[in-house]
């Protein structure tokens, strides 16, 4: 049971990270390789904010700061390059990732840093007869709330409708009178903010070190492809699924667990190329 909670906690983190990636992928058609660097930047910013003021504020400030980074990304790279091929834009984000990770290391140093969650989240809480870390429960709750809010926004607001139609087909949506630029700006900044949120949540969970971006980037890229291109709900479900499978796998099939995400990706792409929840070609 506790093991299942472990899986859900990791899955929650992947869910937040992948939903941001999936939003950008859906709209711009680009798997944003810089997403790992954004996540890492979020975690390090969370460290600084927590040191100065407190973790509670970091949860609020860091996503906003990352949203601003997202605005810059959209205005400087995504928008001017939107008529280039997707693969080129993807490779640009690859270059951004290379730079970003190095810059973060130059600013915060090479050493490992750690962030403590606020006092009331540090202990353990008794749940279903076992003591479980309170902070992990908090991650699960925050991630689920975020997911619910995101789904509701997409479903029931006008801008949500616009985002959904633009992810289906950005050109048609533009013809129908949707301001594609505005939608895209919102999507990229919200996607980046989600990466910042994932980084902040991860900071007290794992320690901060210069390699932290790579580990989750590849996993969440896989999650997005498995979940289905352009499907945010698909990415969320796949993120949770991969988190649980990887955790349970690590307990029962230790050597095989590392390979699981890759096997999953290949199987899904061969059997259902559009992803589990993706739309038909």
């Amino acid at each position: 049971m506790e093991q299942l909670l472990n899986g859900v906690a990791l899955g929650a983190l992947l869910m937040v990270l992948s939903s941001g990636l999936a939003m950008i992928y859906g709209l711009r058609g680009v798997a944003n390789f810089a997403h790992g660097a954004l996540y890492m930047l979020g975690a390090y910013l969370a460290y600084t904010v927590t040191e100065r003021i407190g973790f509670g504020l970091a949860l609020l400030v860091v996503p906003i700061a990352l949203a601003l980074v997202g605005v810059v990304l959209e205005l400087v790279f995504f928008r001017p390059l939107q008529h280039r091929s997707h693969i080129e834009l993807g490779l640009v984000t690859f270059g951004l990732a290379m730079m970003g990770e190095r810059l973060v290391t130059l600013i915060w140093g090479e050493g490992t840093l750690r962030v403590l969650p606020p006092e009331f989240l540090q202990g353990t809480t008794s749940i279903l007869g076992s003591d479980y870390p309170t902070y992990r429960l908090a991650i699960i709750v925050i991630a689920l709330v975020m997911a619910a809010v995101l789904v509701l926004l997409l479903r029931f607001t006008t801008i949500g409708l616009h985002i959904r139609s633009a992810s289906q087909d950005i050109e048609t949506a533009a013809i129908m009178g949707i301001d594609a630029n505005r939608v895209s700006l919102i999507v990229v900044s919200v996607g980046s903010a989600l990466a910042g949120l994932a980084g902040t949540l991860a900071a007290p969970y794992i320690s901060l070190n210069p390699g932290m971006g790579d580990v989750f980037l590849i996993t969440s890229l896989i999650v997005v492809v498995v979940g289905g291109v352009g499907s945010i709900a698909g990415a969320m479900v796949a993120g949770m699924g991969v988190g649980i499978i990887q955790t349970i796998g690590a307990v029962y099939l230790p050597s095989f667990a590392v390979l699981l995400p890759y096997v999953l990706l290949v199987v899904v792409l061969l059997w259902r190329p559009q992803g589990l929840a993706g739309r038909k070609v």
């Binding site: 506790e2 093991q3 472990n6 899986g7 906690a9 990791l10 290391t105 090479e110 050493g111 490992t112 840093l113 750690r114 540090q122 202990g123 353990t124 003591d131 479980y132 870390p133 902070y135 992990r136 007290p204 969970y205 794992i206 320690s207 070190n209 210069p210 390699g211 932290m212 580990v215 989750f216 955790t247 349970i248 690590a250 307990v251 230790p254 050597s255 667990a257 590392v258």
Partner: protein
């Protein structure tokens, strides 16, 4: 458009010019008795190993300063040729080659990880250098991958394990859990510790392995909790160590597991990150900073003066490497690689770590290994040495796989 092209051409041209320039300047250096003694210090200054790499280079700097102030070695000054690496074997080899062929270095120090040391070991003879391995602990470097041109200054993994085994029987705890890295080092350590624990009449309730780079130890910690263990042994490396400590605290594992022993896990450089939660934990210690001998006091003082912090085992082992190398050069009366190597073989010498000797069969420096307990002293975490294991116990004989050719 045309200016763009002009700039591109200029950049390319300057690249080629600088390439040719460095190529011609490099070929001049040769040998000569009045010259400095050149030592290549090849350690990483980026990536997760940057801090350790800087520490290693700092020790060589302090050694060079102290010896040069006393008139040098054989009356010649020590000169360090520092090369940067990424901590991966190919850039390290490149750095070594560059320092040797272009800078004229004959001695190599500061090389970091075991794979890097193995790569240097493979090429040391061909390059005609003496390599001082003061950081790579892997037993392979004293076995199949040993080289007549490489001296292993640092204690091997199996020497560390043996020291911990010796200390285990006096530690509290009846039911032990072993958390090890999923590499052969982790597996073999786990087997040895299991034997040692059983021999002292205690019980091993769990053995588990996590791959290197694990970011979530939650499942493993849950297993330890469910196993009912009251003591734990951790053989975990790299940044996994901080992750493990942090998550052990989040899971409040300390309320159940009273004794925690690490093998290169709770190391001094990580004390600030790990925090007060590790007070009372045990770990192997390669070097005792409080060792009561004149040379050690001189070294500790000089290192603090040069770099502002107290040396731990990485700088100390590199300084020890410098001491041995300079001693051998004096003894040989020459910087000729073969003569220095001959002097190093079987050499006995008084050092910062007391009297040590070099075993000719595997070029292992025979020295003590300690086990320490983390305590808080003057508001800072530090080791308190609780046991000392001599080389006659920790490494009674050389590995027969080592063939010096």
């Amino acid at each position: 458009m045309k200016t763009k092209i002009a700039i591109a051409m200029a950049v390319l041209l300057s690249l080629f010019v600088s390439a040719c320039g460095s190529a011609t300047s490099g070929s001049k250096s040769g040998g000569g008795s009045g010259e400095t003694i050149k030592i290549a210090v090849v350690s990483p200054t980026s990536g997760s190993l940057a801090k350790t790499g800087t520490d290693a280079a700092n020790a060589w700097k302090t050694a060079a300063r102290l010896y040069n102030e006393k008139g040098g070695v054989l009356g010649r000054k020590i000169e360090l040729i520092q090369k940067d690496t990424d901590g991966d074997p190919s850039t390290t080899l490149q750095g070594v080659r560059e320092a040797v062929t272009k800078g004229g270095a004959k001695f190599v120090g500061g090389v970091m990880t075991s794979p890097e040391n193995a790569a240097v070991s493979a090429q040391a003879k061909g390059l005609g250098v003496v390599a001082m391995n003061a950081i790579g602990k892997d037993d392979v470097l004293r076995g199949k991958q040993c080289s007549p041109n490489q001296i292993n200054v640092v204690q091997s993994n199996s020497m560390s394990f043996k020291a911990i085994e010796q200390a285990l029987k006096d530690m509290p705890g009846q039911k032990w859990a072993i958390q090890a890295v999923d590499f052969s080092t982790g597996h073999s350590a786990s087997e040895k510790f299991t034997e040692a624990i059983k021999a002292s009449g205690k019980e091993v309730v769990l053995q588990q392995y996590a791959p290197q780079g694990t970011t979530d130890f939650g499942p493993y910690i849950t297993n330890i909790k469910n196993s009912g263990a009251d003591a734990m042994l951790a053989v975990v490396y790299g940044s996994d160590r901080e992750v493990l400590v942090q998550q052990m605290q989040q899971f409040n594992l300390g309320s159940q597991v009273k004794t925690v022993v690490g093998s290169d896990t709770f190391v001094e450089s990580l004390f600030p990150v790990m925090g007060d939660g590790i007070i009372g934990y045990y770990n192997n210690v390669g070097y005792d900073v409080n060792a009561d001998n004149a040379m050690n006091k001189e070294f500790v003082q000089a290192f603090i003066a040069d770099h502002g912090n107290q040396p731990e085992f990485i700088p100390a082992d590199n300084y020890l490497a410098a001491q041995l190398l300079f001693g051998a050069i004096e003894k040989a009366g020459s910087t000729d690689t073969d003569k220095v190597l001959a002097a190093l073989k079987g050499m006995k010498m008084d050092t910062i770590d007391g009297e040590v000797s070099i075993r000719p069969e595997d070029n292992q420096v025979l020295r003590n290994m300690y086990v320490g307990r983390v305590v808080k002293k003057n508001d800072k975490l530090a080791y308190e040495i609780i046991s000392t294991t001599g080389p006659e116990v920790s490494t009674p004989q050389a590995n027969p796989d080592c063939v010096m050719s």
